[in-house]
Amino acid sequence: MMSAEMKREISEANRRRYEQLRAAGQEATPKGLPDATALDAKPIAPEAVISREQIPADWYATMRLRRGELLRIIDDLGMSSVSMIGWREEDTSERINCADTVKVQWSAAISKGRVILSDMGRVFVSLVEDTSGAHDLMVGGSTPASTLAAFGTVSRNTHDNFLAAATKVGLGLRDIPPCVTFFAPVSVDANGAFLWNAGRKRPGDFVDLRAEMNVILALSNCAHPLNPFRAPLLGPVTLLRHRAPPAGSDNLCRSISPEIVRAFEFTDRLFA
């Protein structure tokens, strides 16, 4: 049996470590984050493109990416939001985990240089380019109930899109985790109320996600439930699957914080 004093010493050491991690995660790490990508800064060479697809408003797509491949998601008209879930191809019980993503990075906001984690302490995808930095991990996508409230009728929605997408890869309702929504400028005020920052959306905003494991993605192009713009159809989004040189160990996404260095180490072991 551990003495009370020994227990207290361990508690105090754990508190000191937590405070050091917090200071690093909220003070040092954000200073090392890169600026947002400029809208015209990163054209993709035609020979690097593997495939191209446009998702019309209200529809969805599934996509498989091999480790190291990239997906550019483009909000063509600056009106859309793209909700995403995904699974590891070889073991679909491993899937994106929004809670671990925000907790490990000490931030509910993700932007260029950040990653999205799986529930197994591994990096699912990293955000290697991002013009927007305005993405939502808290509120989720639209649902039958939210479209009824917004439009007075149940219209196509992300919940149903995810269900259809999951089913097409052999999964179902049990496999739908909380989603990330790109180009969804949601913030939280001092009282915890959600705010929509419409000024942070621009035509042509894009993110480049690099697959850090072999992934299956489901992507839904429906109006975000907090978007007050009530047009029933918002516009298409473009998906560009493409190749890039392998990321070196000096790559910013891999080295931004001690937590993320560990998450990449654990991911690399899958492929060692």
């Binding site: 227990k7 929004c98 809670a99 309702l173 915890g192 907090l226 560990r262 654990f266």
Partner: protein, 216 residues
């Protein structure tokens, strides 16, 4: 700010069920529609991770994102409706002497501990281990673990997006009442985390009690 299911928070005389969940342990039970579950933070500063499943069809389960969207704000408190992934109200918070609970930070796992606090912490007990063991009694698996509730856990999110688990604000004896709108399987992990302040770095027991709905 509280509305009480019983005359006095200390009075458990009418309860149909009472149990002390030891530190670091899981628990589960089906709440019948109308029943109220009280969770008491017996010694204070103890996070209680919780998941809810529709008893008749566990593919329908608590959804943190649906709950926050319907509510329009980021924290769980008195009056919050706990919404399922099919958009139905599963239960609601009917009393709360603590004042703030989380549903964005998820549960601790061996794997996320190793990322957050170093590889040695991979071999410490964690909420997900508790959930896996408890869910297995009901035919459910890791696949069924979604973003959970964290009662008595304080996770302020500031306007810049900073997201921090800070010291619990619950005092010994603080409690929260959850009244079921449908028959729900209610699953708890009494959080064993010792690497952050959610349990004051010292996991402690909690108490649960269940009341039938008041007679009409």
């Amino acid at each position: 700010m509280t509305s009480l299911a019983t005359a006095s928070p200390e009075d458990e005389s009418g309860a149909v069920y009472r149990y002390d969940i030891p530190a670091e342990r899981p628990w589960s039970r089906v709440l019948k529609r109308g029943q109220t579950l009280r969770i008491v933070d017996s010694e204070g500063q103890q996070a209680v991770d919780a998941l809810l499943y529709c008893a008749d069809n566990p593919a329908e389960r608590y959804s943190a994102q649906d709950t926050l969207r319907v509510q329009g704000s980021a924290y769980i408190d008195l009056g919050t409706r706990l919404v399922s992934n099919n958009g139905r109200v599963m239960a609601r918070i009917t009393a709360d002497s603590c004042g703030r609970h989380d549903t964005s930070a998820g549960c601790c796992s061996c794997e996320s501990n190793a990322v957050r606090f170093g590889e040695s912490t991979r071999y410490q007990h964690a909420c997900r281990e508790n959930f896996i063991m408890e869910l297995s009694k009901h035919g459910l698996t890791k696949r069924d673990i979604v973003a959970n509730l964290n009662f008595f856990m304080n996770v302020p999110i500031d306007p810049s997006g900073n997201f921090t688990v800070v010291d619990g604000i619950s005092a010994p004896g603080n409690y929260v009442d959850i009244t079921a709108d449908m028959d729900v399987l209610f699953v708890i992990s009494n959080c064993p985390q010792v690497n952050n302040p959610c349990n004051g770095f010292n996991p402690t027991p909690i108490r649960v009690a269940i009341w039938d709905p008041p007679a009409l």
